[in-house]
Symmetry: C2
Subunit: 167 residues, 2 copies
Amino acid sequence: MPESEQDGLDSFDLAILDILQRDNTTAHRIIGERIGLSAAAVHRRVRRMHENGVITGNFAVVDPGRVGQPITIVVEVEIESERLDLLDAARRSFAADRSVQQCYYVTGEADFVLIVTVASMADYEALTRRLFFENHNVRRFRTLVVMDRIKAGLAVQLPERPPRRIR
Amino acid sequence: MPESEQDGLDSFDLAILDILQRDNTTAHRIIGERIGLSAAAVHRRVRRMHENGVITGNFAVVDPGRVGQPITIVVEVEIESERLDLLDAARRSFAADRSVQQCYYVTGEADFVLIVTVASMADYEALTRRLFFENHNVRRFRTLVVMDRIKAGLAVQLPERPPRRIR
DNA sequence: GTTGAAAATTAACATTC
DNA sequence: GAATGTTAATTTTCAAC
């Protein structure tokens, strides 16, 4: 395969991302006015970034407390064996669980970090049973109950200058 | 003030949220077809949920690796004093930092959990300097480098049945 | 980048529960 | 009275030039 598929984001692309990360309902015409481009040019760039995988999705974010999930918990999980098949099994069971909003595989004193939302502590206990106690590969886990979601977005910091100019 | 402002989400609202959490570019007409409502009715409900704060935002999600931020790190921070003013100062400095994507105030063995994205480990060291070493209220911090973002969305689990039927 | 057609959003109105 | 569906006007999206 050719080595063409690269980032190649210029400062216009980054300016567009900066806006869409805050509000992706902003009309292309408005974006164009702000960054000095026509609406059509903005449209083409947005579509290309979506196809290229730079933009991975467009989501509405819901306040968990308003839909019956008032409790957020950070869980650190330590596993027994790092055997690939066992690791993968854990990975999959965590990712598949509907209460698990985020799941990271990490190095350091823990192996996984999960961010879960639940309706009640009883529900959390049920989660620990099905995800941790019933999985013999889980050595231990630490529960950190979230008292305040100080910052909970997914907006990525964008470079002032394009990260790398291709060609 | 009246005690009227309540959730009052019905199953239509939840069905709409379920769709918008996956893709908020879905046209109201399409949503209407799927759940059995007109486009106008969908539009009104979406607008109301936005105003009510049920929908907290509409975002495009960007792949951090594609915009020069290939490293994700989970950081647990322990602080010295829980004095309110000092706590608030820490809170604010974490939230204000552009590299900090998420910040939670938690109970348990840590006080804050941060999720940060950076361009390099040198940048992470710079971050630890400005956020932790220069803040004398930080007792210690643990670094968990993310090797795999297994699940990184913010979609909240929605109840099958409405959480509470008002009136 | 501009133009023009198709589609979506949005407001206004009549109607039903 | 609150919420729905229909209609119509406005705006946006999107393809062609």
